[in-house]
């Protein structure tokens, strides 16, 4: 009898389990797993003007892309972008978290001010950066400010030399995302046991660099790794600010050719030129690059979570 009851309970549990996971499982299957398989088949096909794989050509799409100068340039562009934005975001968000954590007055005010850009979209921020803040004409805000010091207006976005557009692209993302990472660092800082600092001050270490170097930073290791990873993966998928500040598809539109990241290139390849085979192949190459960089980061800084 107990055995029968147990198997009945098992069956009702099994039924409930599948009933509860099936909507999510079905959705993830249709909108993530199927596209991966479909995309892989597309990437092996000559799929011009069609979303259907079938005209298989082996790995020629991959070979074409890896010898396509514009695509290779886009990979270099995104690596350069990541090299700027990732350490900068890390340093600024950690710096702000340290300042806000210790400030005596107006703590929640500062937290709100730094965090509120998270509510703004990349499109709106790009619009402000492009048309107002870094407008190349004298009425641009930054040009107005440097004008007060007698400096002539600078064409921030339109010229390849000097490449001021990097300043525009990096600061817009910095402004948008730094608050989010500051919040994560603040949470990390609050988990550090006070006793560690007390012990350090008994040992004669005043507040300052040594305490930061030998207590704060090591204690923040898990947090730091997760901030770096989230930031890195997001940076490699940059699209919005490049598309809206420099311009979208085709070299003739705007300043897109100055710095075209992989996603903007793939967008024009697949959606404008309707070459879905190469568009899909490019997605896999970019995924491989992201995996490689993530693993490299893991080798250098660890993946976090295991210590403590």
């Amino acid at each position: 009898m107990p055995i029968l009851q147990k198997s009945q309970a098992d069956r009702s549990a099994t039924f409930a389990f599948w009933a509860f996971v099936s909507p999510a499982l079905l959705g993830l299957t249709v909108f993530t797993l199927v596209p991966i398989v479909w995309g892989f088949l597309l990437s092996l096909s000559h799929a011009q003007n069609t979303i259907h794989p079938g005209h298989f050509i082996g790995f020629r799409n991959y070979a074409d892309l890896l010898t396509d100068e514009a695509f290779l340039k886009s990979l270099v562009t995104i690596v350069v972008f990541a090299v700027f934005i990732v350490p900068l975001t890390f340093a600024v968000s950690l710096g702000l978290a340290l300042l806000v954590n210790k400030v005596g007055w107006g703590r929640s005010f500062f937290r709100t001010v730094f965090f509120i850009p998270s509510a703004v979209s990349y499109v709106v921020a790009s619009l402000i950066w492009k048309v107002s803040l870094f407008n190349g004409l004298p009425f641009g805000f930054v040009n107005h400010l440097i004008g007060l010091f007698g400096v002539h207006p600078v064409a921030w976005i339109g010229t390849a030399h000097p490449p001021w557009y990097w300043l525009v692209l990096v600061t817009v993302r910095l402004w948008l995302q730094v608050g989010f990472f500051m919040i994560i660092f603040l949470a990390g800082l609050q988990e550090i046991p006070k006793s560690l600092y007390e012990a350090a001050s008994v040992d004669g270490a005043g507040p300052g660099w040594p305490v930061f170097r030998y207590i704060t930073l090591p204690q923040l290791k898990a947090t730091s790794v997760s901030v770096l990873l989230l930031n890195l993966i997001a940076a490699f998928q940059a699209f919005d600010e490049f598309y809206n500040i420099l311009g979208g598809s085709g070299a003739s539109i705007g300043n897109a050719s100055l710095a075209r990241p992989p996603l903007v290139y793939l967008y024009s390849l697949a959606l404008s030129n309707q070459d879905f085979g190469r568009g899909a192949a490019g997605g896999f190459i970019l995924t491989a690059l992201i995996f490689a960089v993530t693993l490299l980061q893991g080798r250098i800084f660890g993946f976090g979570g295991s210590e403590k």
Partner: protein
């Protein structure tokens, strides 16, 4: 705080005030420009505020056929709310099953969901577009909504949350004759308001601000979200600056409001997402 602390924290506060001022400049610029005439905006002589605020920029914006703002706002609101509701529902259901219902195949399902978590979302937009075109979702609201509803990440966070839910409460419910569904609906869901609010606000903001996928799917103006309307407006040949900034103000104001009201939950959500909870 004693006097010495107050003194040493003075430069710190000054630094923070300076950076805070920098962070507020973009908001100031939206406000300033959206209330100016075109010639005031483009004047080489800087005016910090318009002497005569042009509130008519906003009414003109809603009558401009080049920028279908009302359609965009309606689309964005519907898309963000539907995404929010269904993502929370499906993710909490799956998270509960993965954390609390013993069944064969549970580990396989969990592994499968973790595997999709590893795939960078924006990278698969080309094949996802192909699948969506096959399903007939191009130029529809549901086509924009559907992929955003299913988030491996929020399933994972709900699972972690339910793993820590006290087992005694659940067992008491089971002894009182509640089914698995009853436990979920009457015990777990009412006790999940914190995580639902935290992840829900983040989902709403992400959905409202999303650009690449709505751009890819919403090719017809009737399916444009606010972001796509703004982007199209920005790249149009002849820029109407006052209306462009009025549009930016209208596009960003609802979210700033949501942010200020819900800030406590957003902070929690950020901590969840960063693995700090």
């Amino acid at each position: 705080m004693n006097k010495r602390n107050a003194l040493t924290s003075l430069p710190r506060t000054a630094w923070l005030l300076f950076v805070a001022l920098l962070f507020l400049i973009p908001f100031y610029l939206i406000g300033r420009n959206s209330l100016m005439t075109d010639s005031e905006i483009t004047s080489p002589y800087w005016a910090w505020l318009s002497p005569r605020p042009q509130w008519s920029n906003f009414s003109a914006l809603f009558h401009d056929p080049a920028a279908p703002m009302l359609t965009g706002l309606a689309n964005s609101a519907i898309i963000a709310v539907v995404t929010l509701v269904f993502q929370m529902l499906f993710s909490s259901m799956a998270g509960y099953a993965l954390a609390r219902i013993p069944a064969r195949g549970r580990n396989v399902v969990f592994f499968l969901i973790l595997a999709t978590l590893m795939i960078p979302g924006a990278v698969t937009f080309v094949p996802t577009f192909a699948v969506m075109a096959y399903l007939g979702g191009v130029n529809t609201r549901w086509g924009i909504i559907a992929p955003g509803v299913f988030s491996a990440f929020s399933i994972f966070l709900f699972r972690q949350f339910y793993l820590r839910f006290p087992a005694e409460i659940e067992e008491a419910g089971r002894l009182d004759g509640l089914s698995y569904f009853g436990v979920y609906w009457r015990l777990l869901l009412p006790n999940s308001t914190n995580i639902i609010m935290a992840l829900g606000v983040l989902t709403f903001i992400a959905s409202w601000n999303a650009f690449l996928w709505p751009l890819v799917i919403g090719q017809d103006p009737s399916a444009w979200t606010v972001q796509v309307v703004l982007s199209t407006f920005l790249s149009s040949q002849k820029l109407n600056l006052p209306q462009l900034f009025a549009a930016a103000a209208v596009g960003v104001a609802p979210l700033v409001l949501v942010f200020l009201v819900m800030q406590r939950y957003i902070v929690e959500g950020a901590k969840f997402s960063g693995g700090k909870e």
